[in-house]
C-alpha cells in the first residue's frame, strides 16, 4: 500500500497497515519500501488479489534499511528483501505468515493480541506480550 520508488527513502513509524489488496503480480506489495527506519508498525492481512500478499518488501538501493519492533501478521511472506538490499531487522514479531522472511530466520513468532483492526484500533491489548503493560 506504500510504494517507495528508487531515490527516496522513507521513515515509517507507528502505523496500522491492514487489509489492503494489490491487484497484479508486479505490484503485489503491501509495503514496498526503501527505508531509513520502520518502527512500531502493525502490518496485518494484506492481500495480493485473493491470495496472501507480502507484508514488507525492501527494495534494492540506498543504505541500510532498519526495522525494529514491528508486528507482521498474516501474509504469504512477512518480509521480503530484494537482492542487494542491506537490512538490519530485530525485535520484530512475525505471526501467521506462510513464510516468515525471505532473508533470515530470526524474529519473534508470538501471536499478538490486537484490540480491533475492524475499528482501526491497532493497539495491543492489555497484557499482550509486547504491550509493555
Amino acid at each position: 500500500m506504500l510504494n517507495v520508488n528508487a531515490g527516496t527513502r522513507v521513515t515509517v513509524t507507528n502505523h496500522v497497515i491492514a487489509h489492503n489488496t494489490v491487484l497484479t503480480a508486479t505490484r503485489r506489495r503491501a509495503l514496498r519500501v526503501r527505508l531509513v527506519r520502520a518502527d512500531h508498525n502493525t502490518i496485518v492481512d494484506n492481500m495480493r488479489g485473493a491470495a496472501p500478499g507480502e507484508g514488507v518488501r525492501i527494495g534494492a538501493g540506498g543504505g541500510t534499511n532498519v526495522l525494529r519492533n514491528n508486528i507482521i501478521v498474516g501474509h504469504g511472506t512477512g518480509l521480503v528483501v530484494a537482492g542487494g538490499a542491506s537490512v538490519s531487522a530485530d525485535y520484530d514479531d512475525y505471526y501467521d505468515n506462510i513464510v516468515r522472511t525471505s532473508a533470515f530466520p530470526w524474529g519473534r513468532t508470538t501471536a499478538p493480541i490486537i484490540r480491533s483492526l475492524t475499528s482501526d484500533d491497532g493497539r495491543l491489548s492489555p497484557g499482550a506480550e509486547f504491550s509493555g503493560d
Binding site: 500500500m1 506504500l2 510504494n3 517507495v4 520508488n5 528508487a6 531515490g7 527516496t8 527513502r9 522513507v10 521513515t11 515509517v12 513509524t13 507507528n14 502505523h15 496500522v16 497497515i17 491492514a18 487489509h19 489492503n20 489488496t21 494489490v22 491487484l23 505490484r27 531509513v36 483492526l117 482501526d120 491497532g122
Partner: protein, 55 residues
C-alpha cells in the same frame, strides 16, 4: 488524491480504490519523507506512493 512534500502524520487512509494508484497520498520531491501514526487499511492498489521527482 493528496500531494504532500512534508511529513504525513495522523491520517486515516482507508477504502481507496484505484487500478494502479492515485486514491490516497503522493509523497513527491522529497528524498526522505517521514510518515507517522497513519492508519492505512482496506485500500485496493497503492494508497501511498513516494518518489523523488515532482508530481
Amino acid at each position: 488524491m493528496y500531494t504532500a512534500t512534508g511529513a504525513i502524520t495522523r491520517n486515516r487512509i482507508v477504502g481507496n480504490v484505484a487500478t494502479w494508484w492515485g486514491g490516497g497520498v503522493l509523497l513527491s520531491g522529497k528524498a526522505s519523507p517521514v510518515m507517522d501514526r497513519n492508519i492505512v487499511a482496506y485500500n485496493t492498489a497503492e494508497a501511498m506512493k513516494a518518489w523523488p521527482g515532482a508530481a
